[in-house]
């Protein structure tokens, strides 16, 4: 009789096999998968390059600015970069489907560029990184943030120092 109850249950619930190659696969939301990079939020501190155990992340200085490259074929999905990133510029998505043919091997890279800009105050060429103003008190307004961002690191420090803080 046990057989009959199992048979009835299997008829009701259907197969337990994952449908994947022929249907969608179950993916947990917090699965550690492919890395994405948001150049707008990057501070340029390069901590991710330093903590990456497999050296999958490389920064390079070019005439246009600083480039970011994360090689998915070297990344071990440990999540150190996301954990240490101070500005949430680097994220792990739950995309695990990275199987590719040999011809696509060297396209498996997440590329980003932090462009150069001219400082609005002194005219020096500097990277347009996100400013490190997490601990500024009181928090910067949006216009202040844009003004800080348009400056070079030295002028940024000067701007933050001379900022009027209501006591």
């Amino acid at each position: 009789m046990n057989f009959l109850s199992l048979f009835a249950r299997n008829l009701k619930s259907g197969p337990q096999v994952e449908a994947f190659p022929f249907g969608p696969a179950f993916t947990p939301d917090r699965l550690r998968g492919r890395i994405v990079f948001n150049a707008d939020h990057c501070e340029g501190c390069r901590i991710c390059e330093r903590v990456c155990p497999a050296n999958a992340i490389r920064f390079a200085k070019t005439p246009d600015g600083m480039t970011f490259d994360c090689w998915h074929n070297t990344c071990v999905f440990c999540g150190n970069c996301e954990f240490y990133c101070p500005t949430d510029a680097i994220h792990q998505t739950n995309d695990w489907n990275l199987a590719h043919t040999q011809a696509e091997k060297f396209d498996m890279v997440e590329h980003g560029l932090i462009p150069n800009q001219k400082c609005v105050e002194c005219g020096a060429t500097a990277l347009n990184t996100a400013p490190m103003v997490k601990n500024a008190k009181p928090p910067l307004s949006e216009t202040e943030y844009a003004e800080v961002r348009a400056r070079c690191p030295k002028c940024r420090a000067k701007y933050l120092k001379n900022r009027k803080v209501p006591s």
Binding site: V17, P53, A54, T74, C75
Partner: protein, 145 residues
């Protein structure tokens, strides 16, 4: 007589898988065993089956960064597999070396020694990703037949 070639075309559509451990940490090997053995991620739906002998294999799954010590054995095993064969590099190690890259004991990437057709990155890859890689390998294998 025309029927027999047609029949052969239908009959040769079940590639057999073979696993080579080229100095892997066993993480990818466990995942590969999981794709085949447990009913939840059934790789036999694609017509594949694991076999114990390289002489019966059609698709080779290689894991591990090809350590210096195991290199000769892997190349000898690989030569024993009859053509046409399709090679799938499973895990980050055979593709680029992963965390073992640039070590003196490791000869990664493996495509310097063995022609690789499909790469499945991950440390280890999910069972579904390995199945996706095997599905890609089957397409390549059918073209080569």
């Amino acid at each position: 007589m025309g029927l027999i070639p047609d029949f052969k075309k239908i009959a040769t559509r079940s590639p057999w898988l073979y696993r080579i451990n080229a100095g892997s940490c066993n993480g990818c090997d466990v995942e590969m065993a999981v794709t085949a053995l447990i009913p939840r991620y059934d790789v036999e739906r694609l017509g594949c089956q694991y076999c114990g002998s390289p002489k019966h294999a059609d698709i080779v799954l290689i894991s591990g960064p090809l350590t210096v010590r195991v290199k000769d054995a892997v190349l000898r095993l690989y030569d024993e597999i009859p053509d046409p064969k399709v090679t799938v590099a499973v895990g980050v190690c055979p593709i680029s070396g992963g965390i073992f890259r640039e070590s003196y004991a490791v000869l990664a990437p493996i495509d310097q020694y063995i022609p690789v057709d499909v790469n499945v990155p991950g440390c280890p890859p999910r069972p579904q990703a390995i199945i996706a890689g095997v599905a890609k390998a089957i397409d390549i294998w059918r073209e080569r037949l």
